[in-house]
């Protein structure tokens, strides 16, 4: 790499701090979306705090260990983890302009995400059916809010994925489509990070 200077300031000093002029659009867009993801995680931290505070306020109702089925949670986790992997590989294929390969990975991502959502919704339905709905106790209100909010994010991520596939098919892998795909893959990876917090705090600590 050549030794270069900007206004006589050594390169090492200005790298990564805006030296050398404006960043490319791609970097600006992804950085803005990164800020959004961090604010979304901050929003989730409020729900995590509520759950941590309320998790033993069961009002005489069922507790976590009565309700949680860890085998299902493990399958859910693996679905989401592998879908994060295929989403990453899909983003990589899109970067390399491999359209067919992107579509295959997007299909895998969608199916795994939908499987996650299916397991989660049937878990919720089973709990409501057993009289352990969100109005039963403070613990269950906090549970449904936290896990449901994550599920709502997964749902919107799936809709976004369908929309992205439609854009790739209709417009091709143009730069602005690639930027949106980059944002989508950041979002999908972030959902997996939040899920790590959910399984640890809600399921693994709750079902012991």
């Amino acid at each position: 790499m050549t030794i270069a200077t900007v206004d006589a300031v050594p390169v090492e000093v200005v790298r990564g701090r805006g030296g050398g002029g404006p960043a490319p659009t791609r970097t600006v867009v992804a950085y803005g979306f990164w800020i959004f993801i961090l604010s979304d995680i901050t929003m989730f931290s409020g729900l995590f705090a509520a759950y941590a505070v309320l998790s033993d306020r069961t009002a005489g109702g069922p507790t976590g260990s009565d309700l949680f089925n860890l085998r299902n949670v493990f399958i859910e986790t693996m679905c989401l983890l592998v879908s994060s992997y295929t989403a990453g590989l899909g983003a990589l294929s899109a970067e390399r302009r491999q359209r067919e390969r992107f579509l295959v990975f997007a299909a895998f991502t969608f199916v795994l995400g939908a499987a996650f959502l299916y397991i989660e919704i049937s878990e919720f339905a089973g709990m409501v059916g057993k009289g352990a709905g969100p109005s039963r106790s403070a613990f269950l209100s906090a549970f449904f809010t936290l896990v449901g909010m994550h599920g709502a994010h997964v749902t919107s991520g799936l809709l976004w994925l369908v929309y992205m596939v439609a854009q790739v098919v209709a417009k091709g892998l143009r730069p602005h489509v690639l930027r949106r795909l980059l944002c989508f893959s950041l979002f999908w990876h972030a959902l997996d990070i939040i899920w790590v917090g959910v399984i640890t705090l809600v399921y693994l600590m709750g079902a012991r």
Partner: protein, 119 residues
Amino acid sequence: MDGDERVYADRTPGVEQQESTASYLSYTVGLGLAILATIGSFVVSQTSLLWPPGVPVGLVVLAFAQIGVHLVFFLHLGSGPDHTNNILALAFGVLVVFLVIVGSVWIIANLNANMMPMP
């Protein structure tokens, strides 16, 4: 990536900047480590492998390890100087999350301990 163009560049979050052959490998290594951490958390929570009062600590450690794996291998966050902006934003996010969660648990536990016995 073409070298000269990259000299000043800020890193784009979420983008692998190395040679492209390494990228699939990076995701696959990340997936493997994440699966290991997940299985580890389930084993720790379901068996008495760890001293029982230490289980929550073990789970938290494994969760942080897995989040680190996700950040490095899936979101391609690094510690180099061209990642300064991304890392600073992340550090601020982590600070706020820590304050909200730990602060809430701390304050409510205090209030709870000082409650009058309920009739």
